[in-house]
Subunit: 410 residues, 2 copies
């Protein structure tokens, strides 16, 4: 049995308010030239002060050695076993553009791409075309295409730059298709083959192939965006919400679509994303603006700690962490019953990618068993009172610290 | 779901090279007269230096309180859940003498033993008769015996000294039989009873009883080896290989048959065992000789750390550890992407037997989250960044550090 089912059975409808501050990809690795990890090198007086009043530890989000995508990492933090709930990138992308997914819809993430004369993808992002061009190409495709042997509905929605999302709606569809995105430049796009011998999957594969073929024809006059590649096919199935499971009325403050999409999938409400020019401060201001009695669970997402890590830019990741540190007193001042500060996975600048390394976490609450951890980083948290645990444990601990779990047994 | 299935699904065909240096039974207990454990008392400057550049921790190989045999201990290290894959000693022994096991064969380990006039086993090793005598007795038995009600084939192969292996081949056999070895001197041999009421097990028990009865008659003139006792019955079933599961082309360097047998069972290749007179250095030299592009996973097994522990010889175990320490720079110099140093279980000299105590482990790699552990021993590793974990985790971590696991989810 998954431990989260026990929390579900014990969850109260009332209790304290919880804030999750998730610094995407915050965990790192020591860079020999920098004398520490990103968190160690960053000057974080405020995070460190919170650590001194928190129970600290480390989280392994999915399992030993397993590098989580952002979806599984967040699912774990929200108390959903990421091995049981598998969400494709297509589903997450569709939710992220406010697309109203219905049970049974099949979604895939699309990249506009550049294909050479020999039929090889030479740029998987079509030179990062601008969002306006993307919108124009999407409406062009929508007008010109008639999918073969398909009498349902289909949708093509711009996300941003080279990114779009494709949705099929109708009976007997399957999300068990292979990516057409070859993942590496210099290779031809792949066919959307079924993952197994299943009639619905075979049928859906044909419909998708018909879409790809016609989209290619439609885009043939384009310089850069003359092809589409698709990945992360998935079928949308309703997931029990945070409220149904744990009695939490959730609100998400996130700039990036995927995180808003995932939050909605779990029944959280989302607010209009902060303006990009307001930067991180805009997110904190938005949280302050809405914080109150209406919600009992607030999720504030910080992206830049991950994107700077993906860029391999150690110094910028340090700065992104320091920017959070300067703003975090505003979250503390909201005085939630429980403040959880953590990440959804590690993204060491040294590796320029997500990684499997455990992520530091602190739970700040008047009922936390505080420990000797005096700084918020990977090494200090190793000595914390929470120890090294699966990421999914955080939700149970947050609920407990918020007085939201009944006693188990008599 | 077993976490190793997730690694399987994420495993890449390409990536870095991994070396496992397994010091059998290396974990120990502090002897009050010696001021520490075997690892603490041993002078190990080289192991300690590796520790300073590694992620360190402790492994519980099978489960809390469970003392692993060498089979389960190694299966865990190789990423095979030892609770799911049960290998009898018979199967391992057969593989260790290069016996060509076929699916469905039933094997058992045999000891030549000394029985007194009252029918009690007084020496379970028949005074450790020499290997030549063993061979002679085996061919004598093979010539004189006709198994009752059995029209299949059967084999009896010398291992060394008092050790041999027995194999039955034919339809409808079962490996679910109790040992005939009473385990303690002064007791009569037991009957090979079926573990449960099953027609195949009952039939196989009868065949084995017929073998034992005739072998006793055949050996009746012998001074020492006048009886056989059998243990570790098992039926051979193919196990998915390391290559099929994790994309690793493995090579085993081990002196003892059982470890080579287990390695072959998992699809590793083995080389001719190093000459016994070359000692430990022969094993390291053999690894250096074969290390290269052909394999991606190397398993170097050191036996003496276990056998000295079994003998209760603290000082000799310390010396065995120091001998490894002197040689280990040669493994480091091969410059693998990942070097794992650990044991398959503890064998504290104080207990003269395997034990359940967790085993220190270190993972040396440029992507290891190094910690403050400065010496390789049971107490220092407790403070390491890997924490205390199930032994099976090591394979997932080794694969991750070698860049051999894809990201999980989007």
């Amino acid at each position: 049995m998954d431990i989260s089912q026990i929390w579900e059975a014990l969850a109260l409808k009332e209790g304290g308010t919880i804030i999750y501050l998730v610094m995407d990809g915050v965990g790192g690795l020591a860079d020999p030239d920098k004398y520490g990890t990103e968190l160690q090198v960053a000057a974080t007086p405020n995070l460190d002060q919170i650590a001194r009043g928190s129970a600290c530890g480390l989280l392994e989000m999915v399992g030993p050695g397993i590098t989580p995508g952002s979806g599984p990492g967040h699912l774990a933090l929200f108390g959903y076993d990421p091995l049981a709930y598998r969400l494709g990138r297509g589903i997450l992308s569709a939710m992220g553009v406010d697309f109203d997914l219905q049970e049974g819809d099949v979604a895939a993430r699309i990249n506009f791409a550049t294909m050479d004369g020999a039929g090889k993808i030479i740029d998987r992002r079509a030179g990062r075309i601008d969002t306006e061009t993307n919108r124009h190409l999407c409406s062009q495709i929508k007008e010109s295409i008639r999918l073969q042997d398909f009498d349902g509905e289909w949708y093509l929605e711009t996300i941003s730059e080279h990114r779009a999302v494709f949705v099929l709606r109708g009976p007997n569809l399957s999300g068990d298709l292979k990516d057409t995105d070859p993942q590496t430049a210099g290779r031809p796009p792949l066919r959307p083959e079924p993952l197994h011998r299943n009639r619905n999957a075979q049928r859906t594969a044909k419909i998708v192939q018909s879409f790809v073929d016609q989209a290619r024809d439609c885009l043939s006059a384009e310089d850069k965006a003359n092809m589409v590649v698709m990945r992360g096919f998935g079928r949308y199935e309703q997931i029990p919400t945070l409220e149904a499971r744990f009695g939490l009325e959730g609100l998400c403050v996130a700039f990036y679509p995927m995180y808003r999409g995932l939050s909605r999938l779990l029944g959280m409400e989302t607010i209009k994303p902060p303006k990009i020019e307001d930067g991180l401060e805009g997110s904190f201001r938005a949280l302050e603006g809405i914080y109150g009695d209406r919600y009992t669970f607030y999720f504030l997402h910080v992206k830049k700690t991950d994107s700077t890590g993906e860029d391999g830019d150690f110094e910028s990741k340090v700065k992104a962490i320091e920017a959070v540190d300067r703003l975090i007193p505003r979250v503390v001042n909201l005085n939630p019953d429980v403040l959880v500060v953590t990440g959804d996975h590690s993204t060491p600048a040294l590796m320029k990618s997500h990684s499997w390394h455990p992520v530091p976490v602190m739970i700040h609450s008047r009922f936390a068993r505080t420990d000797d951890v005096k700084t918020f980083d990977e090494y200090a948290c190793q000595q914390g009172s929470l120890g090294l645990r699966p990421g999914i444990h955080v939700m149970g601990l947050a609920l407990a610290h918020a007085g939201r779990l009944r006693k188990f047994g008599a």
